[in-house]
């Protein structure tokens, strides 16, 4: 019973939404779902945020591992929640919580944005180490990947033209910048399309399995 009702909900809601695209009166139901989802997600956050507080609080109380950093997390979390809920710094209560001059905007600009950008920027190093790894791989597939990557990389820099600019016009396809354009518009496009078609079919089959209730471990067990 504890599983039957959720399985029925999944099946009915899923089936209705599959067919909703074919009936004009139901075409907007997908948008309604997005709205419901956003509201559900806010309530779910009470569980997620609660978990965050609980985990760090337990660490602090047990003085476990890096418990001092858990204090930092808890304080940072509490300050942001308070500043946002009461719209600190906002001249107009009706204005957006992240409007000009609010604490939330200051927090975003001076903490979240630089931290995010720096995390993102670490990719420069990781891309280099991944390239090195691909370079060391000795199989044919990795070699193909590396050659394609190298051509595209050179093709986007002046070095590509510098290296192959001497190739006569009648064979200009062999010039690296042109070769890079061709790889993007030819073989790359083909691969992308094969992946996309496969994904389209894969989503259909997986959705059917979920709607038919064949795959339902996500609903937990009957025993609790």
């Amino acid at each position: 019973m504890k599983r039957l009702i959720p399985v029925l909900i999944t099946s009915i809601v899923g089936t209705v939404l599959v067919f909703s695209v074919f009936f004009p009166m139901a075409e907007t139901w997908g948008e309604d779902f997005s709205l419901f989802f956003d509201i559900i997600a806010v309530f779910a956050f009470f569980l997620g945020g609660g978990n965050l507080v609980r985990v760090h609080l337990i660490k602090v109380l047990n003085k476990k591992g890096d418990w001092k950093f858990s204090i930092v997390t808890l304080i940072a979390f509490a300050i942001t929640l308070t500043a946002g809920l009461f719209k600190f710094g906002s001249v107009d209560i009706a204005a957006s919580v992240t409007a000009e001059g609010t604490w939330m905007q200051t927090i975003f600009n001076n903490i979240i944005a630089p931290l995010s950008s720096t995390m993102y920027a670490l990719l420069a190093f990781f891309v280099a180490s991944a390239s090195y790894r691909a370079f060391r791989a000795k199989n044919r597939e990795a070699t193909i990947l590396l050659i394609a990557a190298f051509i595209i990389l050179l093709g986007r820099t002046p070095l590509g033209m510098f290296m192959t600019g001497w190739i006569p016009e009648w064979f200009s396809i062999a010039q690296i910048p042109n070769l890079a354009v061709w790889i993007m518009n030819g073989p790359n496009l083909a691969g992308q399309r094969a992946i996309l078609i496969g994904v389209g079919l894969g989503v259909v089959a997986m959705s059917l399995r979920l709607i038919l209730g064949m795959d339902r471990t996500y609903l937990g067990s009957d025993h609790d």
């Binding site: 004009p24 993102y120 670490l122 064949m214 937990g220 025993h223």
Partner: protein
């Protein structure tokens, strides 16, 4: 004298425009207060108002051919809607060059007429009034019939092979390297006494890749429960946390080890993409998982995670449907599930003949796609090279089957 001249000019212009374009036009529909005696722009022609097909009765589409004075001698167009009582309302002012307007502020099954006036220096030159038109409600969108039929073919094949497998027919499914390695990877973690890290991507449960990740988690956590290994699952969405907990708990229950489960296996971190990545990186270097699984929707963080995983010597299995992130997983992980393989993984791992049957059904979809591409290409080639009529017909049929707008 001046007043008389203006009055004469107004009368002349009104008479001229009435004689030239208007018959039964309600008075005071268009604003002619700006008339100065200059020549009115030419009106629009061939105005047509149509019910927008296959909608919920909420829209009327208006088309016209632009004024010959467009764009040099006009300011723009004004669309007037006239209701059944003859009352007119200006519904929109449009820029020169416009030849259509979709009126979405109409009521269902109420008759309306329209006039499009060209606005020039001398005033407004109205078009003929359209015949009455109603926004009609339609039950079924016949323009999507082809999608429904194709959908039935693909879903039908999936269902057919599911029922065929149910009846005991043996189906062959090829080995998928990344999934074959999964049990070995879990075993290795158990032997080393280290945890298994499962990252379900960074999107919420309203993304199909996250759903795929959760269904795979069901199978992976069952193996973990059987091996009595430890799983770490930091997540960036609260809903994913809730569903992951249900999933893992169910696996431990069905493995007969309910005591092995605890809620701390799944931990919410933050919804912020790179905040989550910073935390996962920290967990990786501190907990040193022996196996890292990245399955779901990934963005720029794919390479940060996979390279950090590499630095701690973990076996890494990844899978995503995002073509832009697949290269990084391919370069940095031991195994990668590419696109469709991610969605097939749960069925594959279940070993359940019915679910495996659905994979065979997917293959029928691929055969349909490949046949359409090859047939369509041949038809287009022969039709353009030798202008063969029946090839053009075949091409038209294929286009009508795969048209999506």
């Amino acid at each position: 004298m001046t007043k008389q001249a203006i009055l004469a000019g107004v009368i002349l212009v009104v008479l001229l425009s009435a004689g030239a374009f208007g018959q039964d036009r309600p008075e005071a529909v268009v604003d002619s207060s700006n008339l100065t005696g200059a020549i009115l722009p030419a009106p629009v022609t061939n105005i047509e108002a149509k019910n927008h097909k296959y909608d919920d009765g909420e829209r009327i589409d208006l088309f016209w051919e632009k004024s010959v004075d467009d764009p040099d001698n006009i300011f723009g167009y004004k669309v007037y809607r006239i209701d059944k009582d003859g009352a007119s309302e200006l519904v929109r002012e449009l820029l020169p060059g416009t030849t259509e307007y979709f009126d979405e502020e109409v009521e269902n099954d109420v008759p309306y007429q329209y006039i499009v006036a060209v606005v020039g220096e001398a005033g407004e030159a109205p078009s003929e009034m359209t015949p009455e038109v109603m926004a009609a409600w339609e039950f079924f969108n016949f323009s999507k019939l082809n999608i429904l039929i194709l959908g039935f073919i693909v879903c039908g094949s999936v269902l057919f092979f599911i029922s065929s497998a149910k009846s005991g027919k043996k189906l062959f499914i090829r080995k998928i390297g990344g999934l074959e390695a999964l049990e070995e990877a879990v075993g290795r973690a158990t032997e080393m006494g280290r945890p298994i890290l499962f990252i379900p991507g960074i999107l919420d449960l309203d993304d199909v890749q996250t759903l795929a990740a959760i269904t795979i988690l069901g199978k992976v956590s069952r193996v973990i429960a059987d091996y009595d290994s430890k799983i770490l699952m930091p997540v960036s969405r609260s809903l994913v946390m809730t569903s992951a907990r249900e999933t893992i708990k169910e696996s431990y229950m069905s493995a007969g080890r309910p005591d092995g489960y605890n809620d701390n296996m799944v931990q919410y971190i933050t919804d912020e993409q790179f905040g989550y990545v910073a935390a996962v990186n920290g967990i990786m270097v501190r907990e040193k998982p022996a196996t890292c699984l990245y399955l779901g929707a990934f963005f720029a963080e794919s390479l940060i995670l996979a390279e950090t995983g590499n630095s701690i010597g973990a076996i890494q299995i990844a899978g995503t449907a995002r073509p832009g992130q697949l290269p990084f997983f391919v370069a940095a992980c031991d195994y990668t599930l590419i696109g469709e393989e991610l969605f097939a993984a749960s069925a594959y791992l279940s070993g359940d003949p019915k679910q495996l049957g659905s994979l065979k059904g997917q293959d029928i979809g691929k055969i349909v796609a490949m046949s359409a591409i090859i047939l369509g290409t041949l038809a287009m080639t022969f039709a353009s090279a030798w202008e063969l009529g029946f090839m053009q017909s075949l091409l038209d049929i294929l286009n009508s089957i795969f048209v999506t707008n």
